[in-house]
């Protein structure tokens, strides 16, 4: 059964409401994709045999902040008269039309000063070049995309810095996708290594079949030496341990949701890491949400695409997105909002999906997705609940790092503020620097040192902080924090679970 809900996620009395064929309902109807365009990539990723005619189907919003829309904003490609729309036709071949975004740049360089890579790597020309300038250059047929695009770590801080609504990360993603597709040698070690890193889910699902063996084998000295030599994966890094029981296995074993509530439903997008490596985060999420009376759904899902975007593997990302969108749209139809415990997963579903792909229902998924703590802060009186719970029994101090991708969703302070008045919790924000790992960036031999240089400031501030336990929402930031300080790292949902006694 398809259940329609009000836009604010409150199912209310609308259980009965089915969409009438006379079109009485005019607003966006969750679960019923309104985009309605055929499934084709809106960014240039030619599938084999696909002609270049798939041009110019940018999403409803091309910009990152709603401030700037593409020239084809909201246009329905099936209704476009090929002779009538000019800005897109100027540029052949299916690129996103980001001209308006490029034109919005007034060269203030705020993006460059916010770029953690440019701060340590003077070979990297910075987001202003990678974005609007490269976008213009590559209009010309004889211009290759500059290889330096692969040095962008996709932290997306430039989006947050731009006062003029230039869709920088969208431009970077597109350029990187094109570089990898058109210019990168597919048999090169770098390509293969990047593809393996980007497809972490594939390796992780294999490793999870024999978690103990995998955890040992992946960190076995000679194996690591070989990996660095052959694959370019730095031997300094420790591979994360694989859980002996994945989150999904646990979920199945416990018999799924323990709370049923058609009025308060959430679909949990756990992503790869909470499933294979840190199921305790997923379990904490379930217990917190059930504590507040939510029915938790765990739809089938694949990788959110974050590591694939960062490596320009847009085809892989799109393939995974098809599965995710299909299943999440179904959950939204059942009255759920989508929540993620990883800030990169939520950012991907909210921002990169509608910016880069044109899938049936993708805008609905974007609009219904939230980060897990953010969602509770909007819909529940969290402060009151924490106050009533009375705090922790023992004093605990944390050094909290806000992931760049949390920053981009306006979430960089939420953990610190949520726990500010909780008895027994002392949480210090270790500052606004980037951890430096940026997903797969720090997992590349040639980037390892830069990654650690970027992270140096965070390590220092962590050591200065009183807490000896680190805290962050992002699994790869957590790896870097642990790598640089040796601290154990927790997720805010785990602390929330303890503080609520959930």
């Amino acid at each position: 059964m398809t259940r329609h809900t009000d836009d604010d996620g409150d199912a209310g009395e609308s259980n009965e409401a089915t969409e009438s064929s006379d079109g009485g309902y005019e607003g966006p109807t969750p679960g019923v994709p309104e985009s309605g365009r055929d499934e084709q990539p809106s960014v240039f990723v030619p599938d084999e045999g696909e002609a270049a005619e798939t041009d110019a189907t940018a999403g409803d919003r091309a910009a990152t902040d709603g401030g700037v829309e593409s020239a084809s904003a909201g246009a329905d490609s099936t209704e476009l008269d090929p002779d009538a729309y000019d800005p897109v036709d100027v540029f052949p071949g299916g690129d996103l039309d980001l001209r308006e975004g490029a034109d919005s740049c007034y060269k203030c360089t705020s993006c460059d000063t916010s770029c953690p890579v440019a701060e340590v790597d003077d070979e990297f020309p910075g987001p202003k070049f990678q974005g609007p300038e490269q976008w213009r250059l590559k209009r010309k047929d004889d211009h290759d995309i500059d290889e330096s695009i692969t040095s962008c770590s996709n932290c997306m801080r430039c989006d947050d810095a731009c006062p003029s609504g230039v869709p920088l990360s969208q431009m970077h993603n597109e350029a990187r996708g094109q570089f990898v597709e058109r210019q990168m040698e597919k048999l090169s070690v770098e390509y293969i290594r990047n593809r393996v890193l980007a497809n972490y889910r594939t390796s992780a699902s294999l490793a999870s079949m024999f978690p103990r063996t995998a955890s040992f084998a992946m960190n076995f000295g000679p194996a690591r030496w070989a990996m660095e030599k052959v694959m370019g994966i730095p031997k300094e890094r420790d591979f994360p341990e694989f859980a002996t029981e994945t989150f999904r296995e646990w979920w199945k074993a416990r018999g799924g949701a323990q709370v049923e509530n058609p009025d308060k439903r959430v679909a949990y997008f756990h992503g790869c890491y909470s499933n294979y490596n840190t199921p305790e985060v997923g379990k904490a999420l379930v217990s917190v949400y059930e504590h507040f009376g939510y029915e938790v759904m765990v739809p089938p899902q694949k990788c959110s695409g974050t590591p694939m975007f960062a490596n320009g593997m847009l085809k892989d990302a799109r393939r995974h997105a098809e599965t995710n969108v299909e299943n999440l749209v179904e959950a939204i139809a059942d009255g759920a909002d989508v929540i993620a415990s990883c800030t990169s997963c939520s950012l991907s579903l909210r921002q990169e999906y509608p910016e880069l792909f044109d899938l049936h229902g993708i805008d609905d998924v974007a609009e219904h997705t939230f980060e897990a703590l953010e969602y509770l802060r909007i819909h529940e009186d969290l402060e009151e609940a924490l106050d009533e719970a009375g705090g922790l029994d023992d004093e605990r101090a944390f050094a909290y790092h806000a992931p760049c991708h949390a920053r981009n969703q306006g979430l960089s302070r939420q953990a610190v503020e949520t726990f500010r008045d909780v008895d027994g919790v002392k949480m210090e924000d270790v500052g606004d620097s980037c951890s430096g790992i940026s997903g797969t960036y720090g997992w590349k031999e040639e980037k390892y040192e830069k990654s650690m240089e970027i992270g140096a400031e965070m390590f220092e501030h962590m050591e200065d902080a009183e807490g000896e336990v680190g805290m962050t929402e992002c699994p790869t930031c957590a790896m870097q924090m642990e790598h640089g300080t040796g601290y154990e790292i927790e997720h805010p949902l785990q602390l929330l679970e303890d503080a609520l006694g959930a």
């Binding site: 360089t109 003077d122 810095a161 909007i378």
Partner: protein, 459 residues
């Protein structure tokens, strides 16, 4: 449910921070919401109050009809502004009556500057006097300013010690020799020389300012030599470049650099360079990318945090969600596609002016996009400007028009919302670029609006 606080401040610049801290110090529970990283990072880091009083009447009566918009008709002419002013407070009475300083009063400016001194601490200078300091900026101009970073202190134009200004070929936005020439042409009371040295050349030609700052912060090795030592060595041969009027050579007593001398450890970098060079070292404030702006942002947000203000950056306030009886109850915050309500007893709008996008314009008109407040403007677009680019441009004074409690009013002068207060660039009436008053207006109106909002919330 709404995310609630006593006072909600919308914006992330100097005015928003001032309002948030002022309200918090009155006992209010304050939340600050801003769309993007603070515009402070594009600011020079200088805190001006009032440097000039520009003429509001043309030198001869304007010709009839609309401005000529660049056509060669008899163009209007405007007298030069009065200034630089030695004392900003002394000029306030001569500003137009609708100027924010006249609306909130000069005490608000004084207290705003006091508050700034408290928040900026030892990183800033100038608080010992009401008088303006004259600080050279990287175009070679001298700017009257009320407060300036400690890093710029040794560069003051009122100081008569001989000065060397250092430049780098790879920093194309800045020419040290032209800078020194302009300073001398401006009649400064000291001898100055500019020298281009090899240091930034060790980096790629378009390496970012932040890269150079980081290298100095961490004293990274440049071709085997620690960065600070390398920089001092590059400058040392030029310490006797200054030639006085009589043709004599003086050893310089102070050396100016573009503002990239470290980020977190600027003081340490300056001290080491000073030690190695045997001369005071100072930074020349630059346009964006501006490290003095970045440092000020860091410092002020630390202060905001210390005051217990909650803040979040990344999502815009897009409109009033609910209002009753002339009061805003909640505003809508766009969280990547869906809005969430934020409620408060009082709101401060500090979203900036035309550049900061607190005001929006198209061919039809100028509007305030967040709360849709009234922006006073001539109906005819041709009356938005005058011919003389440096004349009294009407558009420069566009903005919301507050009453004496900083509440924006409609065309009839009636308060639009009882519990909405405005501060900073979104407030009209000042010609900040010509007056050199942008920071002071933010401090004065921020302080007043923050206090009024707290009073409103406490009722």
């Amino acid at each position: 449910m709404a995310i609630n606080s006593d006072v909600l401040v919308i914006g992330g610049g100097l005015a928003a921070i001032t309002a948030a801290v002022s309200a918090a110090r009155e006992g209010a529970d304050v939340r600050l919401v801003s769309h993007k990283s603070s515009t402070l990072r594009q600011a020079s880091g200088l805190i001006d109050a009032l440097g000039y009083v520009p003429a509001t009447e043309p030198a001869k009566p304007l010709r009839d009809g609309p401005p000529t918009a660049g056509r060669n008709l008899d163009r209007d002419e405007w007298p030069d502004p009065e200034g630089p002013l030695a004392d900003p407070f002394e000029g306030i009475d001569r500003l137009p009556e609708s100027h924010p300083y006249r609306v909130v009063g000069s005490d608000a400016l004084r207290e705003g500057l006091d508050l700034f001194d408290d928040l900026a601490g030892d990183a800033y200078r100038g608080g010992h006097t009401d008088r303006n300091a004259l600080v050279p900026t990287f175009g070679g101009a001298v700017k009257p300013t009320a407060r300036y970073p400690a890093a710029a202190e040794a560069g003051l134009a009122s100081d008569d010690r001989p000065m060397l200004v250092v430049g780098f070929r790879s920093l194309t936005e800045y020419d040290a020799r032209a800078f020194a020439g302009r300073l001398e042409a401006a009649g400064v009371p000291f001898d100055a020389a500019g020298a281009e040295v090899e240091f930034a050349e060790a980096f790629r030609a378009d390496a970012k300012i932040t890269r150079l700052a980081k290298a100095l912060d961490h004293d990274e090795e440049i071709d085997g030599v620690p960065a600070r030592e390398a920089l001092a060595k590059a400058v040392a041969p030029h310490l006797h470049d200054v030639v006085d009027e009589a043709g004599g050579v003086d050893r310089v007593e102070r050396v100016g650099f573009p503002a990239f001398l470290g980020d977190d450890r600027g003081e340490e970098v300056r001290e080491e360079l000073a030690d190695r060079l045997g001369a005071d070292v100072f930074e020349i404030p630059m346009g964006p990318p501006s490290l003095p702006g970045l440092r000020l942002e860091d410092r002020l947000f630390d202060a905001v945090d210390a005051e217990g203000v909650r803040f979040e950056t990344g999502n815009p306030v897009v409109g009033v969600e609910s209002a009753t009886d002339g009061r805003v109850e909640t505003v809508a915050v766009d969280r990547k596609g869906r809005t969430a309500p934020y409620g408060a007893d009082a709101f401060v709008l500090a979203t900036g002016g035309l550049v900061g996008k607190g005001l929006d314009s198209d061919r039809e008109g100028v509007r305030e996009p967040v709360l849709d407040l009234h922006v006073d403007q001539p109906d005819d677009r041709y009356e938005w400007f005058v011919d003389d680019a440096f004349g009294d441009q009407p558009y420069a004074r566009f903005g919301v028009r507050p009453d004496e409690r900083c509440r924006p009013t409609d065309a009839e002068g009636t308060v639009q919302y009882e519990n909405v207060f405005a501060a900073g660039g979104v407030v009209g009436g000042a010609d900040a670029a010509r007056e050199k008053s942008a920071s002071g207006v933010s401090l004065a109106t921020g302080l007043a609006a923050g206090r009024q909002a707290a009073t409103e919330a406490n009722q």
